[in-house]
Amino acid sequence: MATATDAAVDTADHGHDDHGTSTGISNTKLAMWGFLGSECLLFGGLISTYLLYKTRRGPGPENTVIPTDVFDIPFTSVSSFVLLMSSLTMVLALSAITRGDHPATRAWLLTTAMLGGIFIGGQVYEFTSFIREGVGYTHNPASSAFYTLTGFHGVHVSLGIVMLMSLFVASKQGKLRQEHSETVEIVGLYWHFVDVVWIFIFTVIYLIPVD
């Protein structure tokens, strides 16, 4: 067998090189797209559950407060804005690593993670203040659906922060080189997806009025 073919076969074997795949998209990126497609259905199910239950109050007097009675739209708008801005810094991180500018890559990765962290902090504050105002997780279907939907989203953001910080540490150790920019791009895909999902969740919970 000719050496050239051999090398080509070898590349296909590893499958981590985008020039060796049938579609031209690298395996990891394609897998991430598939995974995000699956995630759409996960959030679809949770959003449907919330839509079904958003006005369902429990029977007892202590169970009747639902999240839309007590939410603070300006506060959540600010934390939503912070989260959306983190998509911008994510893009800047990718742009930095494609240029080979590693200090900037690290700075933007850290900024993205911190903006995500601020959003999570806001969510923790929101949850605690809701509970103080009498919206317990177990009080009624509306509150269970609210906490589950936003909680799942929060877990996704948190995992994204873990990924960003892993990239940050890898970069610090010099392991995240310019030619690995696709790794940053793929983490970015996940991060943008989580942001886009929040746009839907924010609209459904906070912006569409409850009749």
């Binding site: 199910g45 429990g58 279907p141 995992l159 030619e179 696709e182």
Partner: protein, 671 residues
């Protein structure tokens, strides 16, 4: 990671550096007994492990089925109490669907997809190992509820709320059901993303999508269905679990919740699940029937497109499971129509199989008998399915044995028979020897007769009004005779399964005295038959360049000037001999197993003691990061790097980082 320099004599006599990621586990080198199986990332070994485990759970689920039939053989059965009976029929369904048919299909998918598209492995070999270990962990977890959970789940495999709530199902069985299915769901999700990428990205040069074998196509559609259906049941199971563990109010009608939510979420998953079960079998018989008819598949593109159409339409029929739940006349009408429509692509497939056989030179091997049996039995199941599409008839049939009869004709008759045929067809490719044909035919006929004896009478019982899920019945309703026949039939099926296992044992014992099957014992059509049997570790010596569909057939046969098919080459001339050198295979790894071991611990922790969750979480996190830091390719393994000098440490880092990515995304679901 700590790297110790420790000279170790390999078989080649070279000194090697033993790498110890995180100082715990030595990088496995492969080729040493059980450790090789625990750390393998070879799609073929993983496929075999899926198959073995699936057959084990087939026996478990089969014993549960026999208990049901013993209980119902005569009126006033007293073998099982009502409570145990509920657990047994629930676990029978859950085991057969999630722990037998799906993993058996996964066995075929893992083993055959790379071979049929001309690849050396799947796209993510270590994720593939992860899928298997996570699945087996979930399977063991699910069944451990018999021992530590106070009995199995007792809510039916669909586990309708509020029946599945703490009030009506106070034992831990339903918790085990929910967490167990979440864990096996993670396995299937990872596996589906992996196999989709494999099919789309790893095809040999010239293997366009429309040159892929129908089996690969059907498995691809199945993986897409899994990818999109699993998150829906994941939501449902999480809601159920939160209700039971944390007191959420998703399914409690007293608090204003709507139990129908469960039914919708469950069946939005559950109906695509039916096609997840049946499409692999459709794919398998689409390989067997052309081979033994000596004709190409009739209407290849119709076969592929009808499979895709089933995949799409399967999402629009779920509420036909809910016609009597009060969803309203408009919904009933719409889902009734869509259910009738989905029979069309299925009918196309059946007609195409018949047309493939029409005028062919038929050879009735065991595999072919199973394939024909599948077509016949599935047609019966499909026809009774159309009777459910008519809402008024369905109202009469709902929750009777008629439904049981229908879905066993579909799942057993359509699914299991096809998978059994696949076993006989690919056995020589996997194990290097044929299964005995005489015992195989005995297996087929006893299974076919037993199957019809068991499930045929259930049509009559159902129309007579016998409801499902009752633990016994009184004499005098006319149920006695057909129940006895069904119970006798179930033991005939058990006998046929014993014949199968005996055949496996006998064929292996006799194999040394029989001629080796060679690469292509059936004169078949697709790529896996151009390589030696059993498949060498590296699959293809040289990746073939594909010029047509049924590539392997066209390498053996051509046309003369009168357009008659003539043999142009013997198998020996065109098959590969398995003697590749310098093939670079992904190195084995223990980390998928470590990562997977954490998940059942988290599950037990949620039920019994949250500290176990911490332990499981740590194990999973350790597995994830150790995996990410471990290079895909073992730099010290002894393969020929001659052509591969560009492949330096940089590359390893890339793959490490990317693998980490994949890990983190795979890990999302469990958090």
């Amino acid at each position: 990671m700590a790297v110790t320099e420790d000279p170790l004599a390999l078989t080649t006599g070279d000194a090697a550096i033993v790498e110890r990621p995180l100082g715990v586990l030595t990088r496995p080198q492969g080729g040493n007994g059980w450790r090789d199986w625990l750390s393998t990332v070879d799609h073929k070994k993983i496929g075999i492990m899926y198959g073995v485990a699936a057959m084990f759970f087939f026996i478990v689920g089969g014993i549960e089925a026999l208990l049901i039939r013993v209980q119902l053989a005569a009126p006033n059965g007293s073998v099982l109490s009502a409570d145990i009976y509920n657990q047994v029929f629930t676990m029978h369904g859950v085991t057969m669907i999630f722990l037998f048919i799906m993993p058996l299909a996964a066995a075929f998918a893992n083993y055959l997809i790379p071979l049929q598209i001309g690849a050396r492995d799947v796209a993510f070999p270590r994720l593939n190992a992860l899928s298997f270990w996570v699945w087996i962990g979930g399977a063991i977890f699910l069944n451990s509820s018999w021992i530590v959970g106070g009995g199995g789940a007792d809510c039916g495999w669909f586990c309708y709320s509020p029946n599945s709530g703490l009030a009506f199902s106070p034992s831990h069985g339903v918790d085990f059901y929910a967490i167990g299915l979440l864990i096996t769901g993670i396995a299937s999700l990872v596996s589906s993303a992996n196999l989709i990428v494999t099919v789309l990205n790893m095809r040999a040069p010239g293997m366009t999508l429309f040159r892929m074998p129908v089996l690969t196509w059907m498995l691809l559609v199945t993986q897409f269905l899994l990818l999109f259906a699993l998150p829906v049941i994941t939501v449902a199971l999480f809601l159920l679990l939160f209700d039971r563990l944390f007191g959420a109010q998703f399914f409690n009608p007293e608090m204003g919740a709507d139990p129908l939510l469960w039914q919708h979420l469950f069946w939005i998953f559950g109906h695509p699940e039916v096609y997840i079960i049946i499409l692999p079998s459709f794919g398998i018989i689409s390989e067997i029937i052309p081979t033994f008819s000596r004709k190409p598949i009739f209407g290849y593109s119709f076969m592929v497109f009808s499979g895709i159409a089933i995949g799409f339409m399967g999402w629009g029929v779920w509420a036909h499971h809910m016609f009597v739940s009060g969803i309203g006349p408009l919904s009933v009408w719409a889902f009734s129509m869509s259910t009738m429509f989905i029979a069309v692509p299925t009918g196309v497939k059946i007609l195409n199989w018949l047309a493939t056989m029409w005028g062919g030179k038929l050879r009735f091997t065991t595999a072919m008998l199973f394939a024909v049996g599948t077509v016949a039995m599935f047609t019966i199941g499909g026809l009774s399915g159309v009777t459910h599409a008519l809402a008024p008839a369905d109202t009469q049939q709902t929750d009777t044995y008629y439904i049981i009869a229908h879905f066993h004709y579909v799942i057993f008759g359509g699914g299991v028979l096809g998978l059994m045929g696949g076993m006989y067809f690919w056995w020589p490719k996997v194990f290097g020897h044929m299964l005995n044909e005489t015992w195989g035919k005995l297996h087929f006929w006893t299974m076919l007769i037993g199957f019809n004896l068991t499930f045929g009478p259930m049509h009559i019982l159902g129309l007579q009004g016998m409801s499902r899920r009752i633990d016994t019945y009184s004499p005098g309703f006319g149920f006695e005779f057909w129940n006895l026949v069904a119970s006798i039939g179930s033991f005939v099926i058990a006998l046929s399964v014993i014949f199968f296992f005996f055949n496996v044992w006998k064929s292996r014992r006799d194999a040394p005295n029989l001629p080796a099957p060679g690469p292509d014992p059936w004169d078949a059509r697709s790529l896996e038959w151009m390589i030696p049997s059993p498949t060498p570790e590296h699959n293809f010596d040289e990746i073939p360049v594909i010029e047509s569909d049924d590539e392997w057939w066209h390498r053996k046969y051509g046309y003369d000037e009168n357009h008659n098919v003539v043999r142009v080459a013997t198998v020996e001339e065109v098959a590969q001999d398995g003697s590749a050198t310098g093939v670079h295979l992904p190195a084995p790894s223990f980390w998928p197993l470590v990562l997977a071991a954490g998940l059942p611990l988290i599950g037990y922790g949620l039920i019994f003691n949250l500290w176990l969750c911490v332990l499981g979480g740590l194990l999973t996190g350790l597995g994830m990061y150790a995996w990410a830091l471990e290079p895909v390719d073992d730099p010290d393994a002894d393969h020929d790097h001659g052509h591969d000098d560009h492949h330096d440490d940089d590359d390893d880092d890339t793959e490490g980082a990317e693998a980490e990515m994949a890990d983190v995304s795979a890990g999302d679901e469990e958090a």
